[in-house]
Symmetry: C2
Subunit: 418 residues, 2 copies
């Protein structure tokens, strides 16, 4: 790598220091949003950003920014970010890699005296995970206008603490006027959290967008009955009907191609749920995903038909309530191309792919040209202590982020000496 490369050693030291905040015995982190561990992580980031000479500010949702000005006064920023919060017993890479990469990219630009037209901003979004305060991506959602701030402030955790109370408790309630200003592009480096890059041995995923998601709740009403006295052909078994519907959801996804997903993750109710009674009412959830919105709707419709058919055959009533949909997001073609080109210039194999998970980038795409870079997750594991990305891959991702950011910020594409 040339003179304008990132400082890999510094990146590694910071990654290890950040991994120690909220560290779990099995090698993961528990750093749920607005907890003491999150405060420590924020304090660390703030100190590093200040040491790097960035202008640090915090907005009214607690989102942190570190800004390096460009040469052109008033030019929109190239923003690079992710999140430092984690799920309970989560992995070290999910989110933190993207924030530390952003800092490294901006600090390296400063260290090397890169002459960029546009400002660069490091962002640490509050509550990406949503595991303490649902829904997820709350701060980027407020920034993008998807949620009102009042709504966000009033969210409560399991103990009844509101988001606002928790934000004030850790001292990270900032000002609305310190929110992100005009943006030329938003870039996010993240671990894939799926097995595709790992399986194919490809180091860089060029993310084209985020899969659409639609959530349904299926309520099956059979007839609770005695396990011994009710002949098999006299039963209207809610649980067996539900079992067939769950398998039908998988069949629907399989028929919709390799980018389709169907997950029946939660059994919310089985009544009476005793060993010696036929189940009557059963409620379970279905999560369908597809990068194409029309195909997502078709999957939901086919599932609805399958539920109706199975209900008839099993003699039960069934109702599908499609209660939430997140439409697919398509990232900006120019930014996606820039990511791909940067990776190629670095000699790295790439795969264009949708993101199966939601990210702050999905919200940012509503207000700025956006792109994402994925690096491989070993065995696709995420949201667990076993989450792991080879360090070599992580660094390659940071380099692609740097090259893309410098190119988009102007004046550095050539300076970078590719």
């Amino acid at each position: 790598m040339g003179a304008l490369d990132i400082n890999e050693k510094r990146l590694r030291e910071r990654f290890d220091a950040m991994s120690a905040v909220g560290a779990t015995p099995g090698g993961g982190v528990s750093r749920q949003t607005l907890t003491e561990a999150d405060r420590q992580a924020r304090d660390l980031l703030r100190r590093w950003m200040e040491q790097a000479g960035l202008h640090v500010r915090v907005d009214d949702m607690g989102t942190m920014y570190g800004r390096l000005e460009g040469r052109r006064p008033g030019a929109p920023a190239v923003a690079l970010g992710s999140h430092l919060d984690s799920v309970h017993m989560g992995g070290r890479f999910d989110g933190a890699l993207g924030v530390l990469a952003a800092l490294e990219v901006v600090e390296s630009a400063k260290d090397r005296g890169l002459a960029l037209d546009h400002p660069l901003e490091v962002i640490n979004f509050t509550n990406e995970e949503g595991s303490r305060f649902a829904p997820s991506m709350l701060a980027s959602g407020v920034l993008a206008g998807a949620f009102s701030r009042d709504y966000a402030y009033s969210r409560t955790d399991v103990d009844g603490v509101t988001f606002l109370e928790a934000l004030e408790a850790i001292g990270y309630r900032g000002r609305e006027e310190d929110r992100l200003g005009p943006v030329k592009a938003y870039l996010e480096l993240h671990v894939e959290q799926g097995p595709i890059l790992d399986r194919r041995g490809i180091p860089i995923g060029v993310v084209e967008g985020i899969q659409g998601i639609t959530w349904s709740r299926v309520t099956v009403r059979g007839q609770a009955n005695h396990a011994g006295t009710t002949p098999m052909d006299a039963r209207r078994d809610g649980l067996l009907a539900a079992a067939r519907m769950m398998l039908a959801a998988r069949d629907v996804a399989r028929a919709a191609g390799e980018q389709a997903r169907a997950t029946t993750g939660a059994v919310e109710q089985v009544l009476p749920n005793v060993i010696n009674a036929v189940a009557g009412t059963v409620r379970f959830t279905v999560d369908f995903r597809h990068p194409d919105g029309d195909e997502l709707d078709r999957m939901a419709a086919r599932f609805q038909e399958e539920v109706a058919r199975i209900a008839r055959e099993e003699g039960v009533a069934a109702e599908v309530e499609r209660f939430w949909t997140s439409p697919p997001v398509r990232f900006d073609a120019g930014v996606v191309d820039a990511v791909e080109q940067a990776a190629r210039e670095l000699g790295l194999d790439t795969l264009r792919m949708p993101s199966g998970a939601g990210h702050d980038a999905g919200l940012m795409a509503r207000i700025a040209p956006t792109g994402m870079i994925f690096v491989p997750s070993r065995d696709g594991k995420s949201h667990c202590e076993e989450e792991y990305t080879q360090w070599e891959h992580a660094v390659q991702g940071v380099r692609v982020l740097a090259r893309t950011a410098y190119r988009l910020a102007g004046g550095a594409g050539d300076a970078h000496g590719a």
Copy 2:
């Protein structure tokens, strides 16, 4: 009916009076064992037995007896019984019909001056249902030697109250020496709790025994994973594997003939049980029943094979723990024949059948020649407020009980003037 018929009016009045004890708004009863409602029901029965001139006693398990002596000193008794306790929100007929029928049969014998060689005894067994203190049939179990009294006394309800404490609290702890003495035969009239008689339009079920039951718990260990990032072919979905296993249990029962039953009633665990994660570990229960013990074992073995096959196909681990088995009970051929003959003499159609549910008669069969009479349950419903038996059918059952009891008690078969 002739001079020796039962008193149908008295039976009806008592049935209605008993149905008012613990009555629920929807026409059922909540009379869980050793509660205040159970105490009221017991007090009512005691008064009626005393009014009938029966010798009343209570044993150390709280089981109540009302005895009419026979002509032959020291002859073993013909015992007729069932239970006054109910499940929460249960039906009026389950148990109570059998106890009131027993009383009516014995009181009618006394009223009409039937000259019987053997004593007759009315029995109200404590805690048949097991819905407050598990296991069920606790008092008949102690009587038959299936459980120790210490074990029974130490059972606790959900509030931590022991069986013994509850027994003493309602004033129904009697003496061990007042347990049932020598028995010539035990007879129990009960509602079928299944739909077979109702469907076929047959008023009297001649019960040949009680189905064997075997309970298993299946633990499936898949891999919890992200709903969006995990391709369908990379999943090891514990819930979908479990769904296939549940359906396989039904297939096993269907293949084992019309007397076989398989019920997957309870989903005990789904981890993590969230809408946007593939389920990892799933635990559910299976209840297999068959009147033939060897066939029951074959069903359990076939299910085990199916679980192993499905686990292989789904890439999960699975374990079947067969943790409890109640072997089938065959009632005494002489008593069964006597029931059938009595019904025929009364001009009633009969069906020989196993009982799908457990009954005190199943325990009594260990210590006495035993038989049961079933009357139809509308739509097979039981353990619910909607449980219903046509009064005409209930009375026909009582008449069959009377005729069988008098015949077995000796000297009255002819006196009855059939």
